[in-house]
């Protein structure tokens, strides 16, 4: 039971627990904050898996950026406290069946596939190799992503602005 396994269990409990809060809490704000911490858990996983740069990116971009944005959104739309129960009992049944089915399916798949994996090597800093990788092999996606982000930003502004003057 090395320290790593311990952290693994800690983070997994954190993710699953807070994931449940996000999913089932009545109050939207609660779920927003819960999501914030779930992201932290995931970042922890990344560290465990040797992706230190990725964890940092996750925390900064995802948790810091996107999650805050979500929180803004929940704040702006005033009906936070409105009871979150689904309007149709049928929907909850459907969701549990779908969710559970997927989970069971995946878990059974994991069980009986033989992964040809190799024992993980030593952890080494990944930042500059990721950087090199990004700018050599993955230059095209890198450029496209930048273009995409620009487009997203512009469209977001347009959407909101159009709303303004109509």
């Amino acid at each position: 039971m090395e320290i790593a396994d311990l952290f693994f269990y800690l983070f997994s409990v954190m993710i699953i627990g807070l994931g449940g809060v996000v999913a089932f809490s009545r109050n939207l704000l609660h779920s927003a904050f819960a999501l914030f911490f779930v992201l932290f858990g995931v970042a922890g996983f990344y560290v465990l898996l040797g992706a230190d740069f990725l964890a940092m990116v996750q925390i900064m971009v995802y948790a810091g950026g996107v999650c805050v944005l979500l929180i803004f959104a929940t704040m702006l739309s005033d009906n936070i406290s409105q009871p979150g129960k689904s309007n149709l009992s049928f929907q909850t049944v459907l969701s549990t069946v779908a969710g559970g089915g997927i989970a069971l399916l995946l878990l059974s798949a994991f069980e009986n596939t033989t992964w040809n994996v190799v024992a993980p090597g030593a952890m080494e800093p990944t930042t500059n190799s990721i950087g090199k990788l990004l700018l050599n092999e993955y230059i095209l996606p890198f450029e496209v992503i930048s273009f995409l982000l620009l487009a997203a930003m512009v469209s977001a502004i347009m959407l909101v602005k159009k709303g303004e003057n109509s």
Partner: protein
């Protein structure tokens, strides 16, 4: 820890995201559900990149994860912009009433 454990955790997270996605009425909640699902996928990527046998493809998973995060960010931005625009328009963002495209 072994690969399966990471994968199983991400599967659970994925399932929870899915359940939330289907059952919640509030658009913002749905977006959160999407975030969950995306993170589940990212975990898988990183897990595989960690345990993948070939040496030179070691970091590909992580690069993909980065891209996923970026994309998620872009997606969130746009989705929220739409939601807010809708909100301004209809004063509510109940997913099941927003059925403009209804056949």
């Amino acid at each position: 820890m072994s690969l399966e454990s990471y994968l199983s955790i991400s599967a659970l997270l994925f399932a929870m995201g899915l359940i939330m996605f289907i059952s919640r009425r509030n658009s913002v909640a749905i977006l959160m559900a999407v975030e969950l699902i995306i993170n589940a996928a990212a975990i898988n990527f990183v897990a595989f990149s960690r345990f993948v046998p070939s040496a030179e493809a070691r970091l590909d998973g992580q690069v993909f994860a980065i891209f996923i995060i970026l994309l998620a960010a872009a997606e969130a931005v746009v989705a929220l912009a739409i939601v807010l625009a809708l909100y301004k328009e209809k004063k509510h963002i109940q997913a099941d009433q927003l059925v403009g495209l209804h056949g």
